[in-house]
Symmetry: D2
Subunit: 338 residues, 4 copies
């Protein structure tokens, strides 16, 4: 019973079928195929605006290309201290941006504290050319802690962005889980709230190997195709990536899948909220729970797989995916209740 990561889940059958169906004779390579062209249209329809859609195979590539688009080598990007870009990408954003700086901003619940962000930015500039040029902000939605920035919070960050002349990136590795919870559209959450670039994740939520970088701001990204190629991320048979994303969008499959994952997490929360300590609000598909060492051991013995959170001995992370079975969750709750 795997609660370790949504990356370990299988592919949704509809998405797999789309791959099979795309294997139909020859198609132009390197992104000039009919699937990729159609994806461009479908995404623009989803977002209700012009956008440039760059299919990719990893979220790290999407985030790092975004970094390179927003931040010159002598620039800096502000993100949560716990952001994936900061601690889990082995310096990929620095690599892609030719050495730009990520500056961690502290905050509660895996989010940037907006006052701290404002204060940090207000303090820049006094060192002149001795200091990197503040260039961008990146937020993760839903966050690495399974929490959400409210629409209002994103708009506050957008104000800061505008005040300091920065770009705003959203790491949407789990954007579907955010939209599934929130009472707003993905357009509201992104470009309508000032987001210039979105890493649109699909792999964690049912795709096989498929992500996309969505460029809303036409001022950046003119040479994104050369940057993608140069990073070795131009897939020759791109139709098989785009086909996944098309199936993912069709009939709101992405939201259905995310909704299921979120629901599983909510079940755990609702059943255990009075008896257990939840480290963060449960707003998407991740649950962080404090347990005793013997409780953790007991769960593991019973075949439940999950991560004891790095740096702790008594916090476990449970991730629920599109493929998590209700029966497994019921067993998990039962095991935890004892």
């Amino acid at each position: 019973m795997n609660f370790r990561s949504d990356n370990e889940a299988p592919v949704n059958p509809k998405i797999l079928q789309a791959i099979v169906d795309a294997n139909n004779g020859c198609e132009e390579s390197y992104g000039y195929d009919s699937y990729t062209l159609k994806l461009q249209e479908q995404m623009q329809q989803l977002f209700g605006c012009w956008c440039d859609v760059i299919p990719l195979t990893t979220g790290t590539a999407a985030n790092s290309l975004a970094m390179a688009l927003m931040t010159p080598p002598y620039g800096s990007l502000f993100c949560s201290e716990n952001a994936h870009m900061m601690s889990d990408e082995c310096g990929a954003p620095e690599f892609f941006s030719a050495g730009a700086k990520l500056i961690g901003v502290s905050g509660e619940n895996g989010k940037i504290d907006i006052e701290v962000l404002e204060k940090t930015l207000a303090g820049t500039g006094v060192h002149g050319e001795h200091e990197c040029l503040p260039s961008a902000i990146s937020i993760t939605q839903s966050t690495e802690a399974g929490t959400l920035y409210s629409l209002d919070e994103i708009k506050q960050i957008d104000e800061i962005k505008q005040k300091y002349g920065l770009y705003l990136h959203m790491d949407g590795s789990r954007i579907a889980n955010a939209v599934a919870t929130m009472d707003c559209s993905i357009a509201d959450l992104t470009w309508k709230s000032g987001v210039d670039l979105l890493s649109f994740g699909a792999t964690k939520n049912g795709a096989m190997i498929a992500e996309a970088l969505i460029i809303f701001n036409p001022k950046i990204g003119k040479e994104i195709k050369r940057m993608r190629k140069r990073a070795g991320h131009l897939i020759s048979k791109m139709r098989f990536v785009s086909a996944q994303l098309l199936a993912y969008l069709e009939d709101d499959l992405w939201l259905q899948l995310a909704n299921h994952a979120n629901q599983m997490a909510q079940d755990v929360y609702l059943q255990l909220q009075n008896t257990h300590e939840f480290i963060y609000p449960v707003q998407a598909n991740e649950v962080f729970l404090r347990l005793r060492g013997d409780e953790i051991e007991q769960l593991q013995k019973q075949g439940f797989e999950f991560h004891v959170w790095p740096g702790s001995t008594d916090i476990i992370r449970l991730v629920f995916s599109h493929a998590t079975k209700q029966t497994d969750v019921t067993k998990l709750i039962a095991a935890l209740k004892i």
Copy 2:
């Protein structure tokens, strides 16, 4: 009738089936799945030696990681003037190696002229620290011109490599086509002839999205996993890449597919050798043919798709793939014969 590129061909059904079959429950992510582990074994068996197998999604990533492993930022790599690394990767090798230099070596038939290589290397060093450190040689097998380095030629290059203390990389984007033609094993062609690193291609020859970097030299590559991650090339659901490669190797599928493609090219050559000018020897799955402008136009009108070679107006490239139909080739020959 597509003779444009083997990148435009579909996926071989056995490989597609392997992807479908791999969609079986949860598997560890990031390359710690059972498919990737098994691939390691299968490749070691194929090569008859220890090697480290790094599944990737593009040949550019394989070549560029190889460059970064072999060549320090202040180093240089010697390759054919026509090498893919030189002209078709938008500077990816420079990017991955943090700015190392590719030095083009001239030669016939898309290959490095071994005497020119030796002479070029003999001339280095006089400028001391003002000059990049010669660090590596890269050869493409089969070449971008559809030709082959003989075993003897590779061994001569290996001698030069040893004399100057360099590494040797083989861009095997179409290595299967080379092995299918040559009377030797892939082991003979690679590590037994001094190759330290091989970009093992599969996508062009029937896979969907699957390549591998094979590291034979245990002295390099200790941190290849961090380098892969940092380049955004660590695929979370890697089983789906490795499953392709496993199917590709099984029962020598890779050689069967390459053999078919090569045979199609040979058919064209054998039928037209007395009447047409072939720019290069036809040794793998590519044919470069000189035609008159009106002949080219005529072919295009009849629905034959191919590239008129950049920089020329009278040279066409025909690429044959694992999926090229004999009937289409027969039609092509007939059309050319008129």
Copy 3:
């Protein structure tokens, strides 16, 4: 009356004379001149060990080349949150190392807290290839706060370095001020305490344009000359840099000059310690003092030049140099006493 920075001070007359004297006919260029060769010997004598001496023109170049020697692109370096490398070099260490990561370690008095360092390092590794490889530690001596690491503290850091297989760098932009205060030799402070690389500063303490990177560890730095050239830091008429450093070392001029600067700082401290709040212990040539806004204004009106510390409104930094006049300091003390 300039207490703003030792970078604004003039050149010591003996050093200037050495430059004039070096202008004597032709000399080999690019560091193969007699001055640079002699400097190698003099430095080895000073340190009592083999070392490689790389004359440079800025401390940022010395620090950043050190970073590139110690830290691979996928590596990380641990330094104080307040280190010059972290906040005042516009990302130069990241640039030279092709995007490696600097990780700030908190601590008192501008120093790394050794327990925090140990704990931070102990927490690395759990993320495997998703995380940068811990590669180096850098400490500044004297620190950006005008304080000192004791010999014992450096040795504790060395133990951590050894435990985690890292390199240790000392940013000695003001190393002379440290040695002048401490009861030990520069050898004790550096290679005898585990320092692999030293940025040996001279410009702030009386030279015109002269720094040096000192490499104690023969395992790193084999290709430092190519790295220097490639960064545009190979001075053609290098004799004029080396001549400065030779004069700086002669008859312990460097220690005399630093001693004067330190003495000026001590005078201020001794005269005002009972009446004023000193932010950090005064151990070298910098004093950080808390004053009221009107006091600051008053001082400025009287012609005292200094920095109000960025991020504060009530902390001033006073820097004393080899050229600070005793009479100016007496006036400063008098003005502060009122």
Copy 4:
């Protein structure tokens, strides 16, 4: 008798005196001193236009910062196969530009062949994103072969630059020698002929450690100060660099010095033109001469120092500097005449 390199020559006494005179009390550091401000004005007066003047300490830094300003990481720069940037800077332009590509253009007399350049550029673009973006041209004036681009040639290159939307850089490591020969102003040679960026050399022609990057095109270079800092090239006591350049410009000292060097080269040419083979036209301060092995040996025995040109055994390079003595040249001519 040194004819090896103008880099080995001493400093002109007036420039040395200017350094001594600049050692006058405190001055703001990091380029905000009065000398650097005045230099800005003097250069604008010299060029008769707005320009941004960035004092530096090496020509490699000037060229490489220029490369980084003109050429994005995915871009390419076209220069002579023999350009210093191409072969003598250990990959510095690649480093500063984060891996952009230098493409060598062949030609006679150390210059770009303009037709080859045009043809090369016309052939770009067909590979789309697989190819680097043509971004800049760089020419050296006077060239590494001691020859000159005529005003007309520069204007032809400018036309190509405009046609393809590129930037034009001039490596003026020996620009003074060019201006001293040509019947036009430095303004005519540079911005009036389409040059966007000039590496203005002074060290080879009498300065100690002083070069400047001159930015004529206001569209590029907005963040040049951060780029300089980040490369470790922001000299804290910059007044001592700027003072050299001010003295160099005063009363046309730069032209007088270059004129002397050129005259020495012309003397050799005029005396030996009928008896010796000159490899290139003698237009500045360098002479390339073909000699027999025994002649070379004989010269060396008589105390003449020069380089036998790398790659040859019978070509010597003689460089004449501002400090070359007429008597030494007379002896050289006599020795060659025998």
